[in-house]
Symmetry: C2
Subunit: 353 residues, 2 copies
């Protein structure tokens, strides 16, 4: 039987609570579809850092490289500065494994109240393709003049042609694959004097390779506003690491799915494992109460199945999620206006498969 | 009689169409309140650049420095790259005149359809305080390896303690002045390794000077989502140049007021003139048809009056705007779902004074 090795990193906070639900769903669907998932658990998180000063062991990346895919919960803990925890685990995994695509759906689902007026499922349905390895997220820079009145900090964003072109091409290819030949680029070339005019010039150049695909671009400020005012107009939106990050939280924001949306960190060449995680963070404010919504983690697992080539299994999971959300009698977690716990909603989804 | 010299820069596109409406309102209210506004027109715009290669003359800043305030329309034209036009006019004015505060209201107004579900005027009402002179908007950087496969671009953000502390203090002072002792900081210290942890440390330090003011902070991605999901929770939101820019378009986005919202570029010490402009841009897609909504420009004029100390006049203008918006019989421009032109709506507001 086909067997996949899955590295499982529950992480911190509610990551530890939602992960078991995703694993149960995965086991169920693997049984049905006739393949085997071998889960390898890695307990790397902020507690590891507090104990050892490292988020993962020195050979962590090497350990993970043996797996077919990585399923991540959430990382972050109030007593550990975010830039320490994230640059010690999430970001190195994205970079070392060349997961240069961060792919996130923005989709209004049945049964989830939409914060926008007069929208129904189907009205909002597009994809964010985010650059995931370079750009604004850089370690170049530092603090100067520390402790003096002329103190300050610098941070340098780096956009390589190599890194820019490959994410743009992915976005165009993805639009083709979806049969929705329209790509929107997020820019800010009126304010960011060097990086964004460069990004625009590459968008124009790569766009010419895809004459069948309509292109447009918006400055990130007005683009964010348009997500709210006219989300119907988007098909595939491509953005830099930072802009893609903002848009792919705002997208779930406008569809009420912050707790529900998944995030795929993809190495398209499959030279390295890809990583799948929910969009939400570790949510220290509700951690420990087992009331977190497990749908984001389960949907992330569905994206993982699709990436592994188990398309039928992925579809079964997606249908089960939609059925559970659409069923007025199904349990709902507090973020959805209900009183159910993580486990109950997870069970309900498992049963719908 | 008290006399103010106002530099008027209509700029490009619809800037040229909405400015006359604001000037008419200003003249009217000056008559009523008993002061004189002397308008000095500057026709600097993208056409100037196409003709002369400069957005404004060499001594442009010096010419403007004679005025008590600057009223700006909008800058930008399809045939001129945005980074050329903006860095040739808007951005140097902000910087040379140390207009380090960009202050923008986010307010749900009567008569304006809200894109969010179940909101009524009063529900959304807060302020964005944006750093306006440094940060991510910098000319440090460039393109390397041009034309080679290793080509790329770099862009360096600079956050000085001087620049960071003064905008943070302004935000705290402003929250006190409003009697709404709560300041929210926009950060992204989990991704931007140097600049944002520094910003956070200054926010914490300055926050300690204001023990009466409650503070909180969100990463920009989730903050953008919260603008949509729970805008009621905000009072004063402070952000860097880029984050403030994004949030202060998103704010008008969630209140349906992109065409309506104003933006004040303030030099709090009053050593230099401050500048007032609408949030919207030059809108080349509708320019020339005289259908642009003049409210943003008129509201900007009201903020100018307030800054000049003409508080009664400012209030009269604000009331006239609100009355016109609230009056179902008043003319409405297409963005508001009506068929009226710029002039008609401008007239209606002037008459309500
Ligand atoms: C036109 C552009 C440079 C400007 C900015 O980003 O500052 C505009 O978006 C604004 O917010 O005033
Ligand atoms: C946690 C943080 C570093 C991360 C990011 O900004 O990439 C998160 O917001 C995300 O979008 O996956």
């Amino acid at each position: 039987m086909k067997t996949y090795d899955i590295a499982v990193i529950p992480g911190d906070g509610i990551g530890l609570e939602v992960m078991p639900e995703a694993l149960r769903v995965l086991e169920r669907v693997a049984d049905i579809c006739g393949f085997v998932l071998k889960f390898h658990n890695y307990d790397w998180n902020c507690e590891t850092w507090l104990r050892t000063g490292q988020m993962m062991p020195n050979d962590g990346i090497n350990q993970l490289s043996q797996s077919d895919s990585i399923l991540l919960g959430a990382v972050g803990f109030p007593s550990v500065p975010d830039h320490i925890s994230l640059w010690g685990l999430l970001i190195p995994i994205r970079r070392e494994f060349h997961q240069y695509v961060n792919l996130r759906p923005v989709r209004l689902l049945p049964g989830i109240p939409c914060p926008l007026a007069n929208k129904k499922p189907g009205d909002i349905d597009f994809w964010i393709v985010r650059e995931n390895c370079e750009g604004e997220y850089s370690q170049i820079g530092g603090v100067f003049g520390e402790g003096t009145p002329s103190e300050g900090a610098m941070q340098t964003a780096v956009f390589t042609r190599y890194g820019t072109d490959r994410i743009l091409r992915y976005a165009f290819d993805y639009a083709r694959k979806l049969g929705r030949p329209h790509v929107t680029s997020a820019t800010k070339s009126n304010g960011l004097f060097h990086s964004m005019p460069y990004w625009d010039s590459r968008f124009e150049a790569i766009g010419k390779e895809y004459p069948d695909i309509r292109i447009d671009q918006y400055h990130i400020d007005i683009l964010a506003a348009r997500f709210v005012m006219s989300p119907e107009r988007f098909d595939v939106v491509v953005g830099s690491n930072l802009f893609g990050d903002i848009l792919s939280d705002l997208g779930p924001g406008i569809t009420g799915t912050i707790a529900v949306a998944p995030s795929a960190n993809i190495n398209p060449e499959r030279t390295y494992p890809s990583m799948f995680e929910p969009v939400h963070g570790s949510a220290p404010d509700i951690a420990g109460r087992f009331i977190a919504n497990p749908v984001g983690q389960i949907w992330a697992a569905a994206m993982m199945l699709e990436h592994l080539g188990e398309v039928e299994a992925a579809n079964l999971v997606m249908k089960a999620i939609e059925k559970a959300l659409d069923d007025p009698l199904a349990p709902r977690t507090p973020d959805m206006g209900g009183k159910a716990g993580t486990r109950e909603l997870g069970n309900a989804i498992t049963k719908k498969i």
